[in-house]
Amino acid sequence: MNGIHDLGGMHGLGPVEPEPNEPVFHHEWERRAFALNLATGFLGRWNIDMGRYAREHMPPAEYLATTYYEHWLYGLERLLVEKGLVTAGELQTMRPQGSGPVKALPPGGVPTALRNRRAARMDDHLAAPRFKAGDRVRTKNLNPTGHTRLPRYARDKVGVVDRDHGVFIFADAHAATGEKIPQHCYAVRFEGRELWGPHAGPRDAVYVDCFEPYLEPADDATGRRR
């Protein structure tokens, strides 16, 4: 979706403000909001792409006026109701109307849950690659209302495949239905001037990880530029 989360290239947001000796969390509620997100995520009712898509629905004005873990809280509340762990009434009153449909992750299960070694990667033989390193590609001009990982600034742009990362779960479909569709994911190099015009630095480039459905060949069969 063309949401406020897709910030690449925006002006007017001010300087980057690093905080010296920043703590991991600034407030107790951030600790709890962080852990609630992980602990409920382990219940298996949604995947990481659904989690991101839920946060992307936060109204733009609210998104910009709130802090990071408030975005997580918004997404979590939305998913809890959408995926049937909590009813809308329970969320409104914060009073339980009965037990949840699944059992909590016990404390002893936390280390195993975090020692994940395979999340989004799939077997490479599940899909043949359409592109290889060095190929010139053009990103499609896609504007889906659903989840996508192709940022607006990198749509309808020509780049060169830097490397094929292998086969991964296609995020767009995974967010919509949970289906694990195997797709090659490529690091594509875009020159700064292709993305931003003549004022970009001549030696600046941006690499974007692109799922294969985002890409088409930049040249036709005879090698001519499309």
Partner: protein
């Protein structure tokens, strides 16, 4: 618990007063809402508060940028490890025991005198947790996510990194499930340092690519 609910209802009336401070100062409303949500989920048997404590403890005290610093220092002193790290970062990093969530598929980017890599996530906050821990607020903030792709040199200058014009800047936008770690240049004058001493020099910011590693005088 009913006490918290009362607080929550009360908090609702003041929702429009909600404004974050400079570093996301807490809103009483948010504190109460999170507390009420945790109570609700615990009462429904969906979360165990001790599991929450374990998750928080892991990322607050056990996982952090010291892990990544050890990876970098080892790469500086062990050419064979460096080669493995650049060829298959996930496997090489796992040799040191750093595996898990948000680090399942790692890529290491080597900075050189002619190429400077810097990592961002314009769409959310993707970050290599097993080697760097959770990201700092600025990495997740609008300004960094908006500007790094369009004005990387400007952002780097604000961090104190002024690159010569002939240095190529490569910005890596973490748009899929690959997680990036920058291998910074080893500073001059560190030839006699041990791996442990070198690891002490390596900062989180250098491994994101917004700083260089320096030797304190």
């Amino acid at each position: 618990m009913s006490d918290q609910h009362d607080h929550h209802d009360h908090a609702h009336e003041h929702e429009h007063d909600a404004r974050p401070g400079p570093h996301g100062a807490p809103l009483t409303d948010v504190q109460l809402r999170v507390r009420a949500l945790e109570s609700l989920l615990v009462d429904k048997g969906l979360v165990d508060p001790q599991a929450l404590d374990a998750l928080i403890d892991t990322y607050e005290t056990k996982v952090g940028p010291r892990n990544g610093a050890r990876v970098v220092a080892k790469a500086w002193v062990d050419p064979a490890f460096k080669q493995r790290l650049l060829a298959d970062a996930t496997a090489a990093i796992a040799e040191l025991g750093y595996i898990g969530r948000q680090g399942e598929d790692m890529v290491v980017l080597e900075n050189t005198p002619k190429v400077h890599n810097v990592v961002v996530c314009t769409l959310c906050s993707c970050y290599p947790w097993p080697v760097l821990g959770l990201p700092p607020v600025w990495y997740k903030s609008g300004p960094y996510r908006a500007r790094t792709v369009i004005d990387p040199r400007g952002v780097l200058r604000e961090f104190g990194v002024d690159l010569a014009e002939d240095v190529e800047v490569r910005v890596w936008d973490s748009t899929a499930e690959l997680r990036y770690l920058v291998l910074p240049e080893r500073p001059r004058g560190t030839e006699r340092m041990t791996e442990e001493q070198l690891a002490e020099l390596v900062t989180r910011d250098a491994m994101i690519g917004v700083a260089k590693v320096t030797v304190p005088r």
